[in-house]
Amino acid sequence: MNPTYLVLEIRRTFRARRSYLLTLVLPPVVLSVVGVTQPELVVSVALYGAILAVTGCGAGVAAERAQGWTRQLRLTPLRPGAYAATKVLAAMVLGALSIVVTLALGAARGVDLPPAVWLGCALACWVVSAPFAALGLFAGYLLRVEAVTRVLSPVVTLLAAAGGLFVPLDGALGQSARLLPTWGAGELARAPLTTGIDAGAVANVVLWTLVLVAAAAWRFRRDTARV
């Protein structure tokens, strides 16, 4: 990977108005809508913002494929894998900021936790949001940019709701939620608030990470293959 490119990519991410809207404005709005009382919900919504941010790398990839930028990069020593990693890392920096903003808002509204727990939740959110970058890349290497921007955030929002990130789900809904990647990520993100880690959640995150990375790698290889 190239440090100059990474720094420039982070600057580009923070220049785009869209980044702010989706990841720094939307999660606080959701927080107000669902009402902030429990720390669990604050952390879940922070995770939602982080997932929106990291999947955002997909829109960038789709746009830059269409603009011939990825082709231009093939006339440089930068490897296509390093390009994808650069996009993901820049998106994860935005994800980190989104987490900080949402958690800070929760704290400002009276959620009271020890600093170590805040920090633990923030780190947990950041780590478990990372595999969703693969979902972004998968979409970015599969779809056109219009489709990616139109589809990705609604899909993420749906996954977040059905995975129990906005309101706790019981019964049949609660059972089916356990199948979704957002459920496992949510459980692990909230783990610092509770004692012990749910083995089912770990299995969910591991399996979904494998699936998403495999899907992204499949589309990536197809896109970068020389024909």
Partner: protein, 253 residues
């Protein structure tokens, strides 16, 4: 191979190159193309739309794989020559990020090639040093093309491909672009440019290679090509050369 050939392989060495695209039907974009370009030559790759110019350049840049035949660039495989910055290209469209500034774009390109590249010199030689802070999206077509040229110069390539670099530019844009390229080629860089502007081939190339249907149909100086075809203008020669293949392939006459 003699020692001299080993140390100085040609800038471009294309032998029996074939490229087929397998879609609903098979398109033979390049059909047994042979071409050697010596170092320091400025060669115009002239041919009608669909002749296979872009495909040949893609193959020489390692962006596509040949169906048959070989391409060597400065004695290396294309992908290796590209990664080493020894060959660069100005594509006709795309390849720019509109939200970057001109300076950021060239600095990024330089950084990707490693340290020690002179960004300022590339901007100046491309004639866009005064546009350094301008957003790429706000540059005219001609300015964007000179930006692509500056990006291509960053790694100080020995061989430079220009694929229809002035298509869609106005007269002033074309003149500015070519004066930048010409000043640069005077320093000894090998340049291969695809064009369908006959005047560009005649004015700026040492040698004209006419391609039609994926093959070389004439190769020489503009004067030699006109003489061989028995006509007075390059345009007449071009029409005769490129349609002769068409009629024989079509079976007419």
């Amino acid at each position: 191979m003699t020692p001299a050939q080993e140390t100085h392989p040609p800038a471009l060495d294309v032998r029996g190159l074939v490229k087929e695209f397998h879609g609903r039907e098979v398109v033979r974009a390049v059909d047994g193309l042979d071409l050697r370009v010596a170092r320091g030559e400025v060669v115009a790759f002239l041919g009608p739309n669909g002749a296979g110019k872009t495909t040949t350049i893609d193959l020489a840049l390692g962006l596509a794989r040949p169906t048959a035949g070989t391409v060597r660039v400065l004695g290396q495989a294309p992908a290796d020559a590209v990664a080493a910055g020894r060959v660069a290209a100005v594509m006709q469209t795309g390849g720019l990020l509109r939200d970057l500034t001109v300076g950021e774009t060239v600095r990024l390109t330089a950084a990707l090639f490693g340290t020690g590249h002179d960004v300022r010199a590339s901007l100046e030689r491309a004639g866009i040093a005064d546009l350094e802070r301008r957003r790429v999206g706000r540059c005219s077509g001609g300015q964007q093309q000179r930006l692509r040229f500056a990006m291509a110069l960053v790694s100080e390539p020995d061989l430079l491909f220009l694929d229809e670099p002035t298509t869609g530019m106005d007269v002033m844009g074309r003149r500015d672009f070519w004066s930048a390229v010409r000043a640069d080629a005077a320093r000894g860089r090998t340049v291969v440019f695809a064009t369908h502007y006959l005047d560009e081939a005649e004015l700026y190339a040492d040698r004209v290679v006419v391609v039609s249907r994926g093959r070389v149909v004439a190769d020489g100086t503009a004067a030699q090509i006109k003489d061989a075809a028995g006509v007075r203008t390059l345009e007449d020669a071009f029409v005769r050369l490129t349609s002769a293949v068409g009629t024989s392939a079509g079976g007419a006459r």
